[in-house]
């Protein structure tokens, strides 16, 4: 089986400081990988390098494109990478306002992604948008409201609808449940898990919440100071951590 994403020796430096370095892994179709680590560990830098938002200083990020197989997205031309960003990839930001157009209606936010890949028929765009709002549990009668009138949890669900409407194969998520109430988090996790299974998505989720990765991720990568210190099956890394830092991380979680 060809990996969907093949990451080899990726590094990003901010001057003399290390953003992330020497990161390599393969992600296969249908796999969900979590990246955990404390603030400043380089997990968001890595995610942005993988998603083409930052240009890594070294290494290759190969994606299994529909037409040409594995291609290095780092050396790819900008228009091609942008096309991937609109079709095969999706990026869910921690703050929904970074991923939404706040002055456009909810329906417009979802429809815009469809139009970016060539949909033109107003009626069918609106139908698809309505269908997706339903899937992320937003009432159809809110379709013409702007996201500014939505709660934080609703904005996050709208962002997910906007991202998944074009049927991507790989979703990057940066703290998707950060800043939400625990009850809203649970709902979002349930939704994400359902979508991942139904659509056969692969996902890379950056978070500092170990409970989130336990429920969502198949595999886990632990980062510290820009380095990957441990990788493995999620439950194995959390229940039998090998590295000193991972042991500290796991034992620091407050029990409810």
């Amino acid at each position: 089986m060809t990996p969907l994403l093949q990451v080899e020796g990726v590094a990003k430096f901010y001057g003399a400081r290390v953003g992330c370095t020497d990161v390599s892994f393969d992600l296969y179709p249908g796999e969900v990988m979590g990246i955990v680590g404390e603030s400043g560990s380089g997990k968001s830098t890595l995610l942005n390098c993988l998603a083409g938002h930052l240009t890594p200083d070294a290494g290759a990020v190969r994606f299994d494109t529909k037409t040409d197989g594995l291609r290095d997205t780092v050396t790819m031309r900008e228009p091609e990478r942008r096309m991937l960003g609109r079709t095969d990839w999706a990026f869910v930001h921690q703050h929904a306002r970074d991923g939404l157009r706040m002055n456009v209606s909810a329906g417009g936010n979802v429809g815009e992604r469809l139009m970016a890949v060539g949909a033109r028929h107003y009626g069918s765009i609106r139908d698809t948008a309505t269908d997706w709002l339903g899937r992320v549990e937003i009432n159809a009668d809110r379709i013409d409201d702007r996201p500014t009138a939505f709660s934080g949890g609703m904005q996050q669900r709208l962002q997910i609808a906007r991202n998944l409407v074009t049927g991507p194969r790989l979703v990057f998520m940066d703290e998707p449940t950060g800043g939400l109430d625990v009850s809203v988090q649970a709902r979002l996790l349930d939704l994400l898990r359902g979508l991942v299974r139904e659509m056969g998505l692969s996902a890379i989720i950056v978070t500092h919440d170990l409970a989130v990765v336990r429920l969502l991720a198949d595999r886990l990568m632990v980062m510290k100071d820009g380095h990957v210190v441990e990788t493995g099956l999620t439950d194995q890394v959390l229940d039998d951590p090998q590295h000193a830092y991972t042991q500290l991380l796991v034992s620091s979680v407050l029990q409810v």
């Binding site: 349930d190 194995q236 229940d239 042991q247």
Partner: protein, 227 residues
């Protein structure tokens, strides 16, 4: 079906002075298809550790665990995930689920993951929940709010929904009343009859005597405890 070879394990506690605790040494046994093997030994002998190593939840220090053509001790996460999806089931003592997901969906999930149709998966889930005497009015609710015994039975229903060729059972009859205990023992006997290889921990001696073909004393693999 399950072959354990020279398996060893130690825990290194980096944040507690680097203490190394050897917990297992030279574990070796086979379990054939249709056979049920009970793990015995006092508390702390390493029964649960061994089970967790068979499931890939704990990392082996050395040795091999061969289940259905995969060496769990050395396999890639992807291979272990596929093994857990299609070959190796595990009924633990604790139910861990996404909040808000209904009991019926929790039980049907192993079937949906292996490509069974929704109708068939839910029909099987209903049948198991009914057999395990979970009241039908609870099926649409999340099991997170259930009593300990109910959660245990949901866990068992989930573990037996799909016909795994190999099964690990951690105290499947603990905290069950006589009626439900009988249902679980029948489920285990049925699984053996269809050819499943089973490793179980049973503190309930009568249950162990009934379903286990033989027992293995985990203390034999515990450094410093072997006679």
């Amino acid at each position: 079906m399950i072959q354990v070879e020279n398996l060893s394990k130690s825990f290194t506690l980096h944040n507690q002075g680097g203490t190394v605790i050897p917990v297992m040494e030279g574990a070796a046994f086979d379990v054939a298809a249709g056979e049920c093997v009970g793990l015995i030994g006092a508390s702390g002998a390493g029964k649960s550790t061994l089970m967790r190593m068979l499931y890939g939840n704990y990392l082996a220090a050395s040795g091999h665990v061969r289940i259905g053509g995969v060496d769990v001790a050395t396999a890639e996460p992807r291979e272990i995930l596929a093994l857990r999806r299609e070959t190796l089931g595990y009924v633990s003592q604790f139910l861990r689920v996404v909040p808000r997901v209904s009991t019926l969906d929790v039980v049907a999930e192993p079937l949906l993951r292996t490509g069974h149709a929704l109708d068939a998966a839910q029909a099987r889930a209903r049948e198991l929940l009914a057999r395990l005497n979970i009241p039908e009015r609870l099926w649409g609710l999340s099991p997170t709010t259930f009593s300990g015994g109910e959660q245990q039975r949901v866990n068992i229903a989930r573990g037996f929904a799909y016909d795994y060729p190999a099964l690990l059972l951690d105290e499947p009859t603990a905290s069950l009343d006589a009626t439900n205990r009988e249902v679980v023992l029948t489920l285990i006997e049925d699984a053996k009859a269809r050819g499943a290889a089973i490793v179980g921990i049973f503190h309930d001696e009568a249950a162990r005597d009934r379903v286990c073909d033989r027992v293995i004393d985990a203390a034999a693999f515990t450094p410093g405890m072997a006679a």
